[in-house]
C-alpha cells in the first residue's frame, strides 16, 4: 500500500515538463559556480564567494522556488484535477497519505536543490566538499519545512502557488529584510541559520541561532503536517450539476 502510494506520488509529481523545468532551475547554481571557477578567482576569496552563492542563491532563491512548485503540487494538483478522489476512495489513513506525499515532495526538493548546492560548493571552492555539504544539509532541512508549509497551503486554498510565491518574494525577500523581528517566521532564515552554523566560516552571518531555527523549523513542519491531515480528512467533492 505504502509502496503504491509512493510510486503514484512520484509519478504524478515528476511529469516530464515539471522535472525539466525544476532541473534547469537547479542547474543555474551549478552554472554560476562553473563560470566563477572558469574566471580564475583568487583562492582566498573563493570560499566567501561560494558561501554567498550557496546561501543567497541556493537557499534564498533556488530552494523556495522549487519547494513552492513541488510542495503545492504534491496534493494540490490532484485536488485541482479531481484525481485525488481515487486516493481518498481507499481505506488508507489520511495521516499516512499526507506523510508519504510530504516525504516524497521534500525528497524531490532535496534532490533538485541540495544536490546542485553540494556540487556547486565543490566546484566553487575548487574541490572542498565541506561548504557545499553544510548548505546541502541546510537545504534538506529547509526543503522539509517549506514543503510541509506549501503542501498544507494547497489544502487550504486553490491559490496556493500564488500565495506561496508572494510569501517567498514579499515576506522573505522584502519584509524579513527590512524588519529583523519578522525573520523568526522566515523559512529561509531557518535554513540559513543551519547552513551558517554547519559551515562555520563566517561567509554568511545568519540572524537566528541554529538551535532556535531547528526548534522553530520542526515545530512549523509538525503544525503544517497536522493542518494538512485535518484538511485532507475533510476534503469534500462538489457535484458538477446533478
Amino acid at each position: 500500500m505504502t509502496a503504491a502510494l509512493l510510486s503514484l506520488t512520484l509519478r504524478g509529481l515528476l511529469n516530464r515538463r515539471r522535472t525539466l523545468l525544476l532541473g534547469l532551475i537547479g542547474a543555474l547554481v551549478l552554472l554560476v559556480a562553473v563560470i566563477y571557477r572558469l574566471s580564475g578567482p583568487a583562492e582566498a576569496e573563493a570560499s566567501t564567494f561560494t558561501g554567498r552563492l550557496l546561501a543567497d542563491f541556493g537557499l534564498g532563491v533556488l530552494l523556495p522556488l522549487v519547494a513552492v512548485i513541488v510542495g503545492t503540487a504534491a496534493i494540490g494538483s490532484e485536488l485541482d484535477d479531481g484525481t485525488i478522489l481515487y486516493l481518498l476512495a481507499k481505506p488508507i489513513p489520511r495521516m499516512l497519505i499526507v506523510a508519504i506525499k510530504l516525504l516524497v515532495a521534500a525528497g524531490v526538493v532535496t534532490v533538485l536543490v541540495a544536490l546542485p548546492i553540494l556540487l556547486a560548493g565543490i566546484i566553487g571552492t575548487g574541490g572542498s566538499a565541506s561548504l557545499g555539504l553544510a548548505y546541502a544539509v541546510a537545504a534538506a532541512f529547509g526543503a522539509l519545512e517549506y514543503t510541509s508549509v506549501f503542501l498544507a497551503l494547497s489544502l487550504v486554498t486553490s491559490r496556493a502557488l500564488v500565495i506561496g510565491l508572494a510569501y517567498v518574494v514579499v515576506w522573505e525577500g522584502v519584509v524579513a529584510g527590512l524588519f529583523a523581528g519578522t525573520r523568526i517566521f522566515s523559512v529561509r532564515q531557518h535554513a540559513l541559520a543551519v547552513g551558517d552554523a554547519l559551515a562555520g566560516d563566517g561567509a554568511v552571518t545568519a540572524e537566528l541561532a541554529a538551535g532556535s531555527a531547528l526548534l522553530i523549523g520542526f515545530t512549523v513542519t509538525l503544525l503544517a503536517f497536522g493542518l494538512a491531515v485535518r484538511r485532507l480528512e475533510r476534503v469534500e467533492l462538489r457535484g458538477d450539476s446533478n
Partner: protein
C-alpha cells in the same frame, strides 16, 4: 449483504438546499437513482460514498457512517461521473495501483479479473490519456471493482459508452447484483434505468419524490388516468360495452388497437372480463399501456 441507509439527510451550500430531508434504504440488487439535472443526485451519491458531509442527518453503510471513515472503502466501490483519471498511467497500471492501495492480497490476479470484467483487455496497456470516454468509464469501473466490494455506487456509469459496451455493463451489473451485492446507480436516461432495475429512487428538487418498484408507483398515481390496451375477438363490440362501464373514462379505437382509460386501476381490471362476457367476445389480452418509467418520472417531475 450490505445496506445503505440515509436518515433525515439534508445538505446545503450556503443558502442553497441541495438535498432536503431525505430518508431511504438501499439493499441488495440494483437500484436506479433518477432525477432531472440539479435535483441533487450527485450530492446524494457523494454523501453515500463518503465524499461529502451531510449538513444534517445520518448516512451509513451498514453500521458505519460514510463521512470521515476511510475503512468503509473496503466495502464500497465508487465510480464518479468526473472523467479525471491519472493520464500518465496505463489502464492496467491504474487498476493495479487501485488494487495495491486497497491492500488486495493478490493485486496481479485482481487486476486481470477486473480488466476482464469490463472487457478492456486490449486497451489495458495504453496510457489512459489516449482513451475514449467509454474506455475511461470502463477503466474507472474496473478500478472500483478490483477489491470485490459489497456495495457499488455509480454516478452516470453509462455516459460515453457505445450500445455494445452499455449492454455489456448492464450484464455485468446484473450478474453482480445476482451475487447479492448492493448496487446503486444514477442516470438521467430512463430507458437505462428501466432496463436495469425495477426499484427506483426519484429525486426532484432535493427531495425524494418516490421510491420503490416504478410499476407500483404508477398504480399509486390515482389522480392520473391509467391506460390499458385491450385485444379481443371483436374490439368494436367490446369498446361499446366498456363505454357503458362507470369506471371507464375514455375508449379509443385507433389503427386496430383498443385503448381504454380509467381512473381506477383495480376496478377496470375487474370490469373488463364481465364486459367481454356481456358483449359475447373473447378477451385475448389486457395490458397496462403506460406503466413505463417515463410516465412515472414525468408525472413526478411535473407535479
Amino acid at each position: 449483504m450490505s445496506q445503505i441507509t440515509l436518515r433525515e439527510v439534508s445538505r446545503w451550500y450556503g443558502n442553497v438546499v441541495a438535498v432536503n430531508d431525505v430518508s431511504f434504504e438501499v439493499g441488495a440488487g440494483i437500484t436506479g437513482l433518477l432525477g432531472p439535472n440539479g435535483a441533487g443526485k450527485t450530492t446524494l451519491l457523494h454523501m453515500m460514498a463518503g465524499f461529502l458531509a451531510p449538513s444534517a442527518g445520518d448516512v451509513r453503510i451498514d453500521d458505519s457512517p460514510t463521512w470521515r471513515h476511510p475503512e468503509v472503502y473496503r466495502r464500497i466501490g465508487f465510480v464518479p461521473e468526473r472523467e479525471a483519471v491519472h493520464p500518465f498511467l496505463t489502464g492496467r497500471q491504474f487498476v493495479h495501483s487501485s488494487a495495491r492501495l486497497q491492500g488486495v492480497k493478490d493485486p496481479d490476479a485482481a487486476t486481470e479479473r477486473a480488466i476482464e470484467m469490463v472487457d478492456l483487455r486490449e486497451a489495458s496497456g495504453r496510457a489512459i490519456g489516449g482513451y475514449s470516454k467509454g474506455m475511461r468509464q470502463r477503466v474507472k469501473v474496473a478500478a472500483s471493482l478490483v477489491h470485490d466490494p459489497e456495495v457499488l455506487v455509480l454516478d452516470e456509469p453509462f455516459n460515453g459508452m457505445d450500445p455494445r459496451q452499455r449492454l455489456h455493463m448492464m450484464d455485468l451489473l446484473r450478474s453482480m447484483a445476482a451475487e447479492g451485492r448492493t448496487i446503486l446507480f444514477s442516470s438521467h436516461i430512463l430507458e437505462e434505468v428501466e432496463r436495469l432495475s425495477d426499484r427506483v429512487l426519484v429525486v426532484v428538487a432535493g427531495r425524494l419524490a418516490a421510491s420503490g418498484d416504478f410499476r407500483r408507483i404508477r398504480r399509486l398515481m390515482t389522480d392520473r388516468p391509467h391506460t390499458f390496451s385491450v385485444r379481443s375477438s371483436d374490439d368494436r363490440l367490446l369498446a361499446r360495452e366498456l363505454l357503458a362501464s362507470p369506471e371507464v373514462q375514455a375508449v379509443e379505437l385507433h389503427d386496430g388497437v383498443l385503448t381504454v382509460r380509467t381512473g381506477d386501476y383495480g376496478q377496470l381490471t375487474r370490469a373488463v372480463g364481465p364486459a367481454a362476457q356481456r358483449a359475447g367476445v373473447s378477451l385475448l389480452e389486457l395490458r397496462p399501456a403506460d406503466e413505463s418509467l417515463e410516465s412515472v418520472f414525468s408525472y413526478l417531475v411535473h407535479r
